[in-house]
Structures are given as C-alpha cells and as structure tokens.
C-alpha cells in the first residue's frame, strides 16, 4: 500500500539511482584506482578487495540509453521491485510493533481496571473477608460480568458504607499513586511508539537504500569480473563506442568513446568484427563468432565475440551490446588437436589404403600364379587328349566319327590355344617373359608369316607383303615374339576378311615421339652402352585388311583381355579374345607401340612400331634362307632384299609345299570354332560314302583330304593301326601334290563349309614324317645333366626295353647328333653350357640348312669333317622331347616355340616315358 503510493516518486528517482551505478568519479578519473567501500555488512570478504577501474562510459548518453531501451527499463523495474519488497517488509515490521504496543496498552488498561475493581471489591466486602488468590480470578470474572449493572448502585453503596475521612484519605492517596504510575507507563509507551515511528520514517528514504544496493551489485560485478579476460561494450547504431569495459585498459577514454573499431584499431580481424557487428545490427539477431585479431596494440589474439542488438522501447534498433572473451590459447589448442586428429585420420586412411593395395596386389599375384599353374596343369592332360584324338583320327573311321573327332580336336586345340595365351600373358605380366636378341631378316619373317597363313587359308584372299627398301636386310630383335605378333595379327585379319586383300607393310620410320618424349636420357645411356657397332632403327609394321572393320566404339576395349568387338563377333568368329592383348603386351615389352585404325566394312590396319638394333650387315651367308627350299616362282632363293611378296588364292602349290618344320615352329594349330551341329548338317547333305570320294575331294582341302586318300591306301595296307599310320605317311607326300589342284577348285565355292571344318594338319604332316626305321632298335639320346635323373631315366628305359645314349649338355648333344643318327631325343631344358632350347634350335637349323654353321657360330665345337651323314640326312625332323620342370621360365610354350615336338614334365615316370615312346617311335 505504501509502495503503491510511492511508485511515482520512484519513477522520478531512477535517474539518480542509475547514475550511481557509474559514479561520477569513475567516469572522469578513469585510470584512478580506488577502494570500493564495503557495500553491505554481510560482505566482509570484499572489504580488502581492490578494484581497478576499466570502465569507460559516456556519461551523458548512457542514462538516456538506459532509459530508452528495454534492457534499461527492465533493470529499473527490477530495482523498483526490490525496493518495494523492502518497503513492504518495513511496513510489516512496523505493523507488528504497533500490534505489540497495542497489546501492552491493553494489558496496562486491564491492570488499571483490576486495580480499580480491587479497590471496589475491597470497599464492597467486609474487611475481614480474605481475598484468596485462587478464587480471585473467578471472582473478578463474576465481577466483570456484573460490572455495568452494578456501577450505579456501587457508587451509592460506597457512599453509604464508608464514611470515615481518614479511611478515604488513605484510599485517595494510594489511588493517586497508582494512577500516577499508570500514566507514567502510558507516557513511556507513547514515547516508544513515537520513537519507532521516527526510525521508520528515517528508513523509508529509498534513495540511500537503492544506492547501497547498486553499490553492492557493482561490487559483485567487479569482484567477479576483475580477472576475467573479458571485454564488454556498447556501441550505437553507427558502431561508435558508448561504453566499454576492458580488463587491460590501454587506451584512454577519448581514444575510444565515440569511435568505431576501425577508427581505434588497425590490423587483421578489425574489419571482420565490424562487419559482424553490422550484420548483427541489420539482422537483429544475437550471435557469436570467433575472430582473430592481429593488431599492433595487442598482437595476435582470438576473441569469441557475442553481439546482440539493442532496441529502444519503441522497438527500434539503437545499437549493439558486445562481449568478447579472449580464447587464443583454447583456439591454439583446439587447432592443434584438430590437426593431430586430421593427421591421425590421414595416416589411418593411408594405412588402410596401403593395406588394401597390398592385399589386392597379393591377391592378384596369387590369382595370376594360380592361373598360370592351373593352365600349365590343364595343358599337360589336354595335350594328351588332343594328341590321342589326333592319333585316333589317323585310324579308320567312318565319316560321322571323323566329323565328331574333328570337332573334338579343334575344340581341344582352341582350349590349348587359350591356355597358351593365358600363359603368355601371365608371363609378360609377371615379368618372367624374357626377350631374346637374335639376328633375323624382316623380309623373311614377313614372307614366312604370309606363307604360313596362306598355307592354311580357306578363303579367296590375296596376301601381300610389302617391305620398303630402306628396311635393313638384317636386324636384331626377338624374332619369335615378333613372329608371334605378326602371326596373331595376320590370322586376325584373315579371320575378319571375307574377300579382298590382307597384307603386311614394313617401313623404316624416325624415332616416334612417345619415345623421344619420355625416354631421352634412358635412351642415350643405352646408346652409349651399345657402343659403336649397333644402331637402332625404328620399323613400322602395318598389318592391314579389307575386312569387316571395327566400329569406333569398340576400339578402346580392343586390346583388353578377353574382349572382342562384340558378342556377335565372338560367336561368329570365335577366338579367345586374348590375341590382341598379348600382341599389345609383347609390343610394349619390346619398347614399342601397337595402334589400330579402322573403318567399318572398309578394313582395319594394325600398326606396331618397334625399335631394332641393326647389326653388321655383311654376314648373312651363315644363315641360309630357310625358305629357299620352298621358294617358288615368286622369289629367288637368294634374293634376300626382295621387298614384295604376293600369295594369290589360286596358287595351290604354295599351300602344300610349306615345310613341316617351319609351320610347326610358331603356329602350332590353326584354330576355328566349330559347331558340331552345323558340321553334321553339312555332311548330311553330303553323299558320304566311298562312291562320293571325288566330291569330297572337291569339298575338303589339305588336312581333311587324307581321309579319302587313306581309304584308298587302306586297300593295300594291312589294317593294324601301326602300319596304317605308315601308310598315311607315305601317302601324304603324293597326296599333297595332288591336292593342290583340288584345293584350287574348292577354294571358291565352299567357303562357309570350310571355315567350319578346320583340321590341324601340321601334326599329321609331322607324324607322316616320322617314318619307321628299318633298324629294329630305335636309338634314343638322353640329354640331361643330373646324374640321378640320368640313372632313373636309364633304368626306366631299360624296363621299357630300350637303351639310350647320354649327353650331359647341349653341346654334347649336338656332338652326338652330328656323329650318329637318333630316332628320338629327350632333352632337358635347363642345363649348363648349352641349354635344351638353344640346342634344339641349333639342331633344327642344322636340319634345315644341312650344316652346323649356326652351332659353330654359337660356339659349339663341331668336328667339321664333312662326312656323308650330312648328305645322307633326310629332311626328316628329329623328334625332340623336352623334359621340363613345372616353372614359368621353362614352359612348354617355349619348348614348342624353339622347335621341340612335345614335352614331358618332370619327374619322368614310366607311364609318361612309355606314352612318349609310343607316340614317337614306331
């Protein structure tokens, strides 16, 4: 009730009240230290506290500000409420006191009354009546009840009963005394009352009270904030400081007040903070941000800044409050932590990536090794299957059986080819593939490849070889691999060309840019190493065709493993999809590049460029033209520099004249995918009986024809398989001549039919060569360096009823072959002095040339007595069986490539040996 009355008064007062929050002396003597007086009795702890002043305020504007903002008025309201509460309390206390006094007065009155009544009682009752304490209460009550009624009579009675003067005098005196005491008491009470009223009045002055409170509040703030690294401030709409509290005051008032951040500080972060403040001001939403300042004033420090907009009562923005706390250390720590964490994460990621890579690499290696091993393991039994099937195909079979067998053989050959491809690839990829540098004549290689391709050609295609004049007669490179590439590309070209031409073009080019670019230094070093005798030449080889071409979108994946231009093509043309991948890998292994250009239905050109060393060009006499014996009307035997070959489809003699040794060298089988159903269908339409022979002759070519021949020959040969094969062999040479004519006629008309029926003819030719010796005991040579292996093999041979000669290395083997004729050679691959592969190559060269020049050049000491054996030696191919350990480096592929006929994997067992002898000794 009191406060209600006083609210107006308070409103008027609050200007004064608030100004006390920032005492005058604080504002004007900003740097002065002062002792804060004890703000309240209960805050003894603050007695000794010294507080620096860090507050700089614009005293004229702040009060206005506080008045006009919500924050300011709410603070005031709080103060008023507090004051009201205190006033209430004071009023309550006063009321209580008043109540107390009232009660005391009542008591006093009661006492007085009692005294009067006592007196009356005394006058009423006889004197001798004793007033008993126990009963007096009862009695008094009784008296009080009756008091009003009795008053009148009483007085009368008094007058009636007491009449003596002395007694009355006495009585009056004592009464007077009592009255006096009572008034005295009353007076004192009145005094007390007025005194307490006075104190109440003095406490009720709210000004001092509020001042106290405010001082206390300020004391609290100072106490809490005195060591806090905090800056607080208020800035107006233009971001000019009106108030700032700073722990480390380093600027004077005039330096700050009324100025903006930008005006005060210079350096990094100032602009940002100002922008931030402005942003808050514009958005009207309080927010926090971390800003790093680098100023001349306090160096590089990071502050967490809280900015809130300030509104006046009308809801208009009038400025911002901001509070900043220095968090430099925390930020540094946090950044350090983040960096550590990041480093950690990166390291972990790298680690896991590395692990993954290692794992993948290991897996890949294992898978490749596994594939290679498996391929090798599969190949051995498979060659058994194919071999046996081929033997079977030389026996008497009816047509249907023969068709089935042919499918079997060609499928087997396909699988073999695939496995060989896989092994080749894995060899290249695992780095086991070794390149050999041998001298060779590019013209011969091209001719040879074309010749071989022509030999198995089933289409009316013209094969051309075109070698530019500047291509050296002789170069050094890995001729086996180059032949492999050429053969692969040519067979591809033929496969996808139905009519027109297929050709090889060789020309010398300048060093290609891809080499110049990336191998400048490496190459020069190499050049220096090679000395003066050899120089490099780059030869570009185009294998072109006029075939179906390759769509552009299929080009990118052309060289990928197991990829073919399309599934349709794969079905139609067959193949493993590994050929081009191998070619590419081989070319790249030799430091070259394989590319392709193609246009659909116009043809494709595969181009590979390879570097070759050019050796001395004077001594090509030692290696006679290996094709001279089958050279025909097109090339002179000694014309090593001829640059153009052509093989036309109608020139039958070429196909049949191809020497068996050569075709076997690098193209084991010509494989086409065949579908059995088609095959049988094809022959259902055929008059398949003996009487239809002539037609058969016209339909089938080379390899296939021997069936009909066989049937005629079987007429005079005994039926046993052994002799049957002999018959086959003898017949073959005759047949090969006669077939040329029939082939010529068959080429045109029955293209489709023939492409489906493909038979590997080489093996049969080879077997045909192996004529049975007249001597009863075949002579066998074992070339092996390991004593134990010799002992075991010898003992096995003995069990099989054969003896054999022993040579301990390749050189001994050549010597032995030179001095005596053998029917079979078992050749270890890995031997000291001269290994089996090289020895075999030299032996083959001897067979082809009739001299040991190659061997002599290789350093083998041959007794050069030109005895008649050299002349006597038939062109027979000496079967050489490799004995290989199951390793990548000595694969059977390499054995075949080096001119070996077959292989036995080690350890040699009776069974393997028996099979081998059965196959090659008749």
């Amino acid at each position: 009730m009191v406060c209600e009355m006083e609210t107006d008064q308070i409103e008027e007062m609050d200007v004064e009240v608030l100004s006390s929050m920032w005492p005058e002396d604080v504002g004007t003597e900003a740097d002065k230290q002062f002792n804060v007086e004890k703000p309240a009795g209960d805050l003894d702890t603050l007695k000794e506290v010294t507080i620096e002043t860090r507050t700089i305020a614009d005293m004229t504007r702040l009060p206005n500000l506080l008045n006009s903002t919500h924050q300011g008025s709410s603070q005031l309201t709080n103060l008023v409420k507090q004051w009201e509460y205190m006033q209430d309390n004071a009023v309550r206390l006063l009321k209580e006191e008043l109540k107390n006094l009232d009660r005391q007065r009542e008591e006093a009155e009661a006492k007085e009354l009692k005294i009067i009544e006592e007196y009356k009682f005394e006058s009423n009752e006889p004197e001798n009546v004793p007033v008993l304490d126990e009963t007096s209460d009862l009695f008094r009550r009784f008296r009080q009840k009756k008091r009003d009624a009795l008053v009148d009579s009483k007085k009368i009675e008094i007058y009636e009963e007491f009449d003596t003067v002395a007694y009355w005098k006495q009585k009056a005196l004592s009464l007077e005394k009592m009255l006096e005491a009572s008034t005295e008491r009353e007076r004192r009470l009145m005094e007390k009352l007025s005194e307490s009223l006075k104190t109440m009045e003095s406490q009720s002055a709210p000004v001092q009270e509020l001042t106290q409170n405010l001082k206390r509040a300020e004391g609290f703030l100072h106490f809490i904030l005195q060591n806090a690294p905090i800056v607080m401030g208020h800035q107006d709409k233009d971001l000019r400081y009106l108030f700032i509290y700073n722990k480390y005051p380093s600027l004077r008032e005039q330096d700050i007040l009324g100025k903006t951040d930008v005006e005060i500080f210079h350096g990094g972060g100032v602009k940002e903070s100002e922008d931030f403040k402005r942003e808050v001001l514009e958005k009207g939403k309080a927010s926090k941000r971390e800003i790093t300042f680098t100023t001349d004033l306090f160096g590089s420090k990071t502050f967490l800044i809280y900015v809130e907009p300030v509104y006046n009562k009308a809801g208009e923005k009038i400025g911002i409050n901001y509070m900043g706390m220095e968090v430099t250390d925390q930020v540094v720590k946090r950044e350090k932590m983040a960096k550590l964490r990041e480093d950690n994460a990166v390291r972990k990621a790298m680690e896991s990536e590395l692990n993954k890579t290692i794992h993948i690499t290991e897996e890949t290696m294992r898978a490749k090794q596994m594939l290679a091993t498996m391929s090798h393991e599969i190949r051995s039994p498979l060659s058994g299957v194919v071999g046996m099937a081929e033997i079977l195909s030389t026996t008497k079979l009816d047509k249907e059986q023969r068709q089935l067998l042919n499918v079997m053989i060609s499928s087997g050959d396909l699988v073999l080819q695939l496995i060989n491809d896989i092994l080749d690839l894995s060899k290249v990829e695992s780095g086991v593939m070794r390149l050999e540098a041998t001298k060779f004549r590019p013209r011969e290689v091209v001719k040879h490849v074309l010749q071989t391709a022509a030999a198995s050609l089933k289409k009316s295609l013209t094969l051309e070889g075109n070698i530019a004049d500047d291509v050296p007669i002789e170069v050094v490179g890995d001729v086996l691999r180059i032949r492999q590439i050429l053969t692969n590309l040519i067979s591809n070209a033929i496969k996808f060309t139905h009519e027109g031409n297929v050709g090889i073009k060789l020309q010398v080019i300048s060093e290609p840019s891809f080499v110049r670019d990336n191998a400048l230094n490496a190459d020069t070093e190499e050049h220096e190493q090679n000395g003066l005798t050899e120089t490099s030449v780059w030869i570009c080889c185009d294998v072109w065709d006029t075939g179906i071409g390759i769509p552009e979108n299929a080009l990118p994946c052309l060289f990928k493993k197991y990829m073919q231009a399309s599934a349709d093509h794969a079905r139609k043309y067959g193949g493993t999809g590994l050929g081009l991948a191998i070619c590419k890998q081989l070319v790249e292994l030799m430091g070259g590049q394989l590319t392709v250009t193609s246009r659909v239905s116009e043809g494709s050109t595969f181009t590979f460029i390879l570097p070759y060393k050019v050796g001395r060009s004077d001594d090509y006499s030692d290696d006679q033209d290996e094709f001279s014996d089958m050279a025909d009307q097109q090339s002179e035997p000694d014309d090593t520099a001829e640059g153009y070959f052509q093989f036309k489809p109608l020139l039958g003699s070429i196909y049949s004249n191809g020497g068996p040794g050569i075709s076997n060298d690098f193209l084991p089988h010509k494989v086409m995918l065949t579908s059995p159903i088609k095959l049988i269908n094809g022959f259902v339409a055929d008059p398949s009986n003996n009487t239809g022979q002539s037609e058969m002759l016209q339909l089938e070519n080379g390899g296939y024809m021997d069936e009909s021949k066989l049937e005629t020959s079987s007429g005079h040969c005994p039926e046993s398989a052994h002799q049957y094969e002999n018959g086959n062999g003898r017949c073959f040479s005759k047949e090969s001549e006669s077939c040329s004519s029939s082939q010529a006629s068959s080429e045109g008309g029955t293209l489709e039919m023939e492409s489906e029926l493909t038979v590997s003819s080489h093996r049969e030719e080879e077997k045909a060569e192996t004529e049975v010796k007249e001597t009863s005991k075949p002579k066998i040579l074992l070339v092996e360096d390991n004593k134990i292996n010799i002992m075991v093999a010898k003992s096995m041979m003995k069990q099989l009823g054969h003896t054999m000669d022993i040579a301990n290395n390749g050189v001994e083997a050549i010597t032995a072959i030179n001095s005596s004729s053998y029917d079979l050679v078992l050749m270890d691959v890995c031997m000291p002095v001269l290994d089996g592969l090289k020895a075999t190559r030299l032996i083959r060269s001897y067979e082809e040339t009739g001299n040991w020049n190659a061997a002599i050049e290789a350093g083998v000491d041959i007794s050069t007595s030109e005895n008649e054996q050299v002349c006597m030696r038939p062109t027979n191919r000496l079967p050489i069986i490799a004995m290989t350990a199951n390793t990548l480096a000595e694969s059977s592929e390499e054995c075949y490539a080096n001119g070996m006929d077959s292989f036995i994997s080690k350890p040699v067992t009776l069974q393997k040996l028996r099979e081998c002898l059965q196959q090659y000794l008749h």
Partner: protein
C-alpha cells in the same frame, strides 16, 4: 616260427613305408623307383638314393660356401645348385626336400640371402632326416630278405 617273424617284419615294413608317404617324406616317384628294381638290379633304389644323398651333401656344401659372404653371393651359381637338387629330389621322390627346393629357388630368384640360408638349413635337415628314415627302411628290407621273406609290394594311394 620263421614265417611269423617274416610276416611281422613285412608288416612293420609296410607300416613304415606308408608312414613315410603319409608324413610327406616320399611321393609317388619313389614308387616309380621301386618298380624299377628287379632281379637285374636288386639294389637299384638304394643305389640311386645313396647317390642322391651324396649329391645332396656335395651340393649343400657348395651352396653354403657360396652363401658365406654376406654381400657377394653368386646367386646364379646358387640357382644352378638348387636346380640340380630340385631335379634330383623330384626324381627320387624326396618330396619334402623338393618342396624346400621350390621355396629355395624362389628365394634365389629374388636374391634373398636370408631366405636362402634358411632354406639351405631346411634342405640340410630334410635330407638328413630322409637319409636316416630310408636307412631304417633298407635295414628292414635286409632283415626281411635275411629271414627269407620277400619285400612286400606297397600300394600307395
């Protein structure tokens, strides 16, 4: 009396040789060798095997010499030795020796001297082990023959 002794010896022989196969000391190539032994060459197996062991000890000596120098190992020479050993062990069916040779060769290929030394020790151990085992086997054979029995054919499959 004598027949029971023979039967016992024969069974012992059989068990022993089977255990050698089972423990991987021997493989089917050893059976091949045994097939080659007949009246014409009654001691063929033991002759081959002793030749093999002589070979082993010689080769191992050579190889350990070439592995002696830590920096200057002639891996080519080592490789040819390992190749020899591998061929021989594979020929007599000394399976464990052969297997060690395979890893030996791999170590050779990557020129890992530590690995080579380890493999050399293993090969040495394996061939000596096999040697004692086979000596026991041949002793058993002799005992059977002396007791008038025949060497039983053992089918390992």
């Amino acid at each position: 009396m004598n027949t029971t002794v023979v039967a016992q010896l024969q069974r012992q022989f059989q068990d022993y040789i089977v255990s050698l196969y089972q423990q991987g000391f021997l493989d089917s190539q050893f059976s091949e060798l045994r097939k080659l032994q007949d009246e014409g060459s009654p001691d063929f197996v033991s002759e081959v095997v002793s030749l093999f062991f002589d070979d082993c000890s010689k080769l191992i000596n050579t190889m350990s010499r070439s592995l002696e120098q830590p920096d200057n190992v002639d891996f080519k020479q080592l490789d040819s030795g390992v190749h020899q050993l591998k061929g021989s062990s594979s020929s007599v069916g000394a399976r464990r020796v052969k297997n060690v040779c395979i890893s030996f060769k791999e170590c050779c290929d990557v020129q890992n001297r530590e690995g080579c030394l380890r493999c050399l020790q293993q090969v040495d151990y394996e061939y000596k082990m096999l040697k004692t085992k086979l000596q026991d086997l041949f002793n058993l054979e002799q005992q059977i023959l002396q007791a008038g029995g025949t060497i039983p054919q053992v089918d390992i499959n």
